[in-house]
């Protein structure tokens, strides 16, 4: 009897793990889509509104969900209340780091954002557009890869989780 309960727990836990791994692909894809949209909005704000970054970040962040919504909002607040001790890039990197705890992006994808943080707000409109466009295009590439991966691996992990659970049970019994 106890053995049956134990087996059930193992299978459930393993399946849950499988579902978790599958979910990551979905979340990653969703976050990438959100980021791309936010950068497109930033591009528009800069091009047509010449909106300063702190303001633009606040607008964009307030319409996004965690963790990047928070990322933009906190970024905006820190910039507005800055005391000139840290540079923009340092603040950007720090907040990206904070957001990373709740995000599912790969290191490669983060690098795209890190690079953007070194050039935002440092040149004229045309140049900013180019930098943003580059970042957007690179993220779109990542998005299509992530989409493929989701199709390929999500259902795989879901089944894999359950199967692994059963295999473990068989091994242990």
């Amino acid at each position: 009897m106890l053995k049956l309960l134990g087996a059930l727990i193992v299978i459930v836990a393993s399946t849950a793990y499988g579902f978790y791994r599958a979910m990551i692909y979905g979340k990653r894809l969703e976050q990438l889509k959100q980021l791309i949209y936010s950068l497109k909005r930033l591009k528009t704000d800069i091009q047509f509104g010449l909106t300063p970054l702190p303001e633009a970040f606040l607008h964009i962040g307030s319409q996004m969900s965690a963790p990047f919504g928070q990322f933009y909002i906190r970024l905006s607040e820190r910039l507005i209340h800055s005391n000139s001790e840290v540079s923009f890039t340092a603040i950007w990197n720090d907040e990206l780091n904070n957001a990373s705890y709740d995000s599912y992006l790969t290191k490669q994808q983060y690098d795209i954002l890190l690079q953007l943080g070194t050039v935002l707000g440092t040149s004229d409109v045309e140049d900013q557009q180019q930098h943003l466009q580059t970042a957007i295009e690179r993220l779109i590439l990542e998005e299509s890869v992530a989409s493929e991966e989701q199709v390929k691996y999500a259902s795989l992990w879901r089944s894999l989780g359950a199967l692994l659970g059963v295999a473990l049970v068989i091994l242990l019994i």
Binding site: I46, L50, T51, P52, L53, P54, L79, S82, N83, S84, E85, V86, S87, F88, L120, G121, T122, S123, D124, V125, D127, Q128
Partner: protein
């Protein structure tokens, strides 16, 4: 007023300036930041460098030198982290920050078809600290007031940079707008009001006179004053003549022929004009054709030369008609 500037400065510079004596801070006029070169402060009419301990010194040896990183951080702050949003200002070579303080920029210009499009590699900053001194214009206004019309007469104010031109005309606008009767100062210069409160229009091309922030003047320029902010002088004057029905127009640093035309338009419309001009003496500025014309046509009734030495500011009022008469007599 100094607080707003301090707020924008990088910590390294801010702490040193905060160490200055109260008197020094009150008289601080310019902060000149030059990358990898000694930080310079203009206090009163003297200049000083500053060492690592915040002590003022006259020599530049072993003075504190702001690094490239410090300068970059400062530029980030004054551009609100968005250089792209400052295209107009970069073209003109300065940024006016909240509080009316003007920060001049030096660096490498970017040209487009031979014209300055912007500046890159900005490594020199000249922070000019704006101050509001209510009442500073009273002694002067007394001399240019026409008691019969109860208004001021058109006046040309001549002074080189840093002689308090802007602080002066700011207060002139304020006094005329309130009228010499209301809450201007505790000094009772008149027994009965000789200057009625008038509608004032300020063409504030460099946002220095009223220092408008989001459209509202930072300084007290009077209750009956309209400000055309960041607007080219000649155009601004014409716009205000047409739409704001001013009684007095205040404009800073005229110099081009369009400015003269606009001033004449105003004069023909019966509007009094208080304008400032770069120069030392009436004789010198008279040599400029555009000014010569304005003077000979007696568009201005008075010219005022500002002076300054270690004791303070002074002015000399010249009656134009009288001056022209003397000139012709002299030449005869």
């Amino acid at each position: 007023m100094l607080e707003q500037v301090l707020h924008l400065l990088p910590q390294e510079i801010k702490t040193k300036i905060e160490l200055l004596s109260r008197k020094a801070k009150q008289q601080l006029e310019e902060i000149r930041i030059r990358e990898n070169r000694p930080l310079e402060l203009i206090i009163g009419i003297e200049h000083f460098f500053i060492n690592e301990n915040g002590e003022l010194q006259l020599f530049s040896e072993r003075a504190y030198k702001p690094s490239n990183e410090v300068c970059r951080r400062f530029l980030e702050r004054i551009t609100n982290y968005s250089l792209y949003s400052m295209e107009e200002q970069l073209k003109r070579g300065y940024i006016t920050v909240s509080g009316g303080h003007r920060i001049g920029l030096a660096g490498r210009t970017i040209l487009e078809k031979g014209e300055v499009k912007g500046i890159r590699d900005i490594t020199g900053f000249n922070i000019r600290i704006a101050r509001e001194i209510k009442g500073t214009a009273l002694p002067l206004i007394k001399k240019i007031t026409n008691p019969k019309d109860q208004t001021v007469d058109s006046t040309l104010i001549i002074a080189p940079p840093q002689f308090g031109k802007t602080t002066l005309i700011r207060d002139i606008a304020r006094c005329i707008s309130y009228g010499i009767n209301g809450p201007i100062s505790d000094q009772a210069l008149y027994e009965q009001p000789q200057l009625k409160s008038r509608k004032v229009a300020i063409v504030d091309e460099r946002s220095e006179i009223a220092a408008c922030y989001k459209g509202v003047p930072t300084f007290d320029v009077g209750p009956r004053t309209d400000v055309m902010d960041a607007c080219p002088k000649a155009e601004g004057m014409m716009m205000m003549i047409r739409s704001m029905s001013p009684e007095v127009i205040i404009v800073d640093e005229i110099g081009r022929s369009e400015d003269a035309l606009a001033i004449k338009e105003a004069a023909h419309a019966g509007i009094k004009v208080i304008a400032t001009l770069h120069g030392y003496h009436l004789e010198d500025v008279y040599k400029r054709q555009m000014i010569q014309q304005l003077i000979e046509e007696e568009t201005f009734r008075y010219a005022i030369e500002l002076k300054r030495d270690e004791f303070g500011f002074m002015h000399r009022v010249i009656n134009i008609k009288q001056w022209l008469k003397n000139k012709t007599q002299y030449h005869q």
